[in-house]
Amino acid sequence: MKKTYAIFQKELRHFFYSPIAYIVIALFTLIAGIFFYLYLSSFVEAAFMDMMRSQQFRTMPQKFNINLQLIRPYFWNLALISLFVLPLVTMRLYSEEKKSGTVELLYTSPLSVNNIVLGKFFAGIVFYILMLIPTFIFMGLLFIYGKPELGPVLSGYLGLLLMGSAFISGGLFISSLTENQIIAAIGGFGLSLLLWVIGWAASYSGPGLSSVLNYLSIINHFEDFAQGVIDSKNVVYYILFSTFGVYLTFKSVESIKWRS
């Protein structure tokens, strides 16, 4: 446990001692901010237009639900940005150690593979949480100037966290396969994107396969969270997914150690 924490601490240090952390967080916040602005202005515009119309025709104004029309698509959007940005976080987790030869230190120290892999995985997750924190400001603005429901916001963040951990476990696995960070980033991105779009293929395949593909699709399980529903089925999916990714990393590290 102490050793896992030592790895975890070191990984977080690496993030913040190198420019990567700041670039990734700045990029994420910028893109998330732009999308927030776009969603918000179209929401406000639609509400404004409706008010004008209702005054003109003396009808009751429509009810605009900020949770449904702004927060829900916005969470979906954050998930998509995470898909693009997280490979940049996971790419160096393992590849860099292999490239610089520090794996020799890790593998010849009294550390278990578990210590190494879990330390890195949790460092990735904590970094993702830090990355999401600036988006609280956007949400906060909605709470200051409007009355959204808090529940769906919290469930949305929980969904993001779970989905992020699935992406991170996959990215960590890819990173453990190569010493080239670029390949790790592209591979991690490819894997995440593949798992994302796999659901689209479901509509073109037979009934048996389509339910399998739908289940595998990483984004399908996110929709409920964005709507404010915490379904144990989806929670289990993400936890299983992350566990599997971590397990694969574990195996890939072990096989490199004992490949002869």
Binding site: K3, I7, T108, S109, K257, W258, S260
Partner: protein, 312 residues
């Protein structure tokens, strides 16, 4: 302390080491000597449980590398060929991390780190970022990492590479002092290093052990014929006639000393003929300036063993 038996390791089709066997006693300093790509690093990587051999056995402090790598890792300090450094941490942070993963209890950590810094003479740079250090300092940080927590067994892959001559002497002294209490294996392709620090040498070439002995014994074992160096002042014909009188001389190398026009001969003889030769030279009235036997240096032994030439 370390028993190595018939280690063989292939990288794909390529054979890195083949049936490497040797023992290291407790407190001994063993030098692994060999040209580049001879298999020194591979042997060390196997002993540190970084990777397994294709076949063969090895025991470190009684623990088997197959069954109990975890126990072995607790006992060894390993300096790989490229020091395993995190460029963006500073020296203190780096050693703190190493202490943590080596399981040094938190109340002792501070002392362990400061004594290691002292040993490796890193006091002046302890707040500096590792990536900004010079090659020599990086090497010392790597060495500090291996020495941390005072492991029983030290495995050092080319420990003095990249250091300046003064630092090399310091590190050699340090290694020598560590012997006795610690069991050390160090690899190098620098021969004087082995002669100066190691009690025993294993010479590896193309993945196989070609010789194993103390540096002195290796020298004497290979000294199958005497070499006598003779420097005289006189004309060649007279000297040649002297040589003709000695049946023991097998080979003559002649060289002119440019400074004073003396002749210098290197004679390979079957026995020590210095006494008779000196008398003969003096009897002919020639000036005798030098006469001595010459031992093969480890360098020559190394070359002989590794280039597969017949021992002259």
């Amino acid at each position: 302390m370390i028993e190595v038996k018939d280690l063989t390791r292939y990288y794909g089709e390529k054979r890195a080491i083949h049936n490497v066997s040797f023992d290291v006693q407790k407190g001994e300093i063993l030098g692994l000597l060999g040209p580049n790509a001879a298999g020194k690093t591979t042997t060390m990587k196997i002993l540190t449980c970084f990777m397994p051999p294709t076949s063969g056995e090895a025991k470190v402090a009684g623990f088997d590398i197959w069954d109990q790598p975890g126990e072995i890792k607790k006992l060894i300090g390993y300096l790989p060929e490229n020091p395993p450094l995190y460029g963006d941490l500073n020296v203190l942070e780096y050693l703190d991390f190493v202490a943590k993963i080596k399981g040094v209890p938190s109340d002792k950590r501070k002392n362990v780190i400061s004594s290691t810094i002292e040993k490796a003479a890193l006091g002046d740079v302890q707040k500096q970022v590792v990536g900004s250090l010079s090659k020599g300092f990086k090497q010392r940080v790597g060495l500090a990492q291996a020495l941390l927590n005072d492991p029983q067994i030290l495995i050092l892959d080319e420990p003095t590479i990249g250091l300046d001559p003064r630092q090399i002497i310091e590190i050699r002294e340090l290694i020598k002092n560590l012997g006795g209490e610690h069991t050390i294996i160090l690899s190098t392709h620098i021969l004087p290093e082995v002669e100066m620090t190691c009690g025993r040498v294993v010479i590896i070439n193309e993945g196989e052990v070609v010789a194993e002995d103390s540096p002195e014994n290796l020298t004497s074992r290979l000294k199958v014929s005497e070499r006598t160096v003779l420097e005289v002042d006189g004309d060649e014909k007279t000297i040649q006639s002297i040589f003709d009188g000695f049946g023991e001389i097998q080979k003559i190398d002649r060289m002119k000393v440019s400074k004073n026009n003396h002749l210098r001969f290197t004679l390979e003889t079957s026995s020590d003929i210095r006494k008779d030769l000196a008398q003969a030279v003096v009897k002919k009235g020639l000036g005798l300036y030098e006469i001595r036997t010459e031992a093969y240096s480890l360098e020559e032994i190394f070359l002989q063993l590794t280039t597969k030439e017949e021992v002259a």
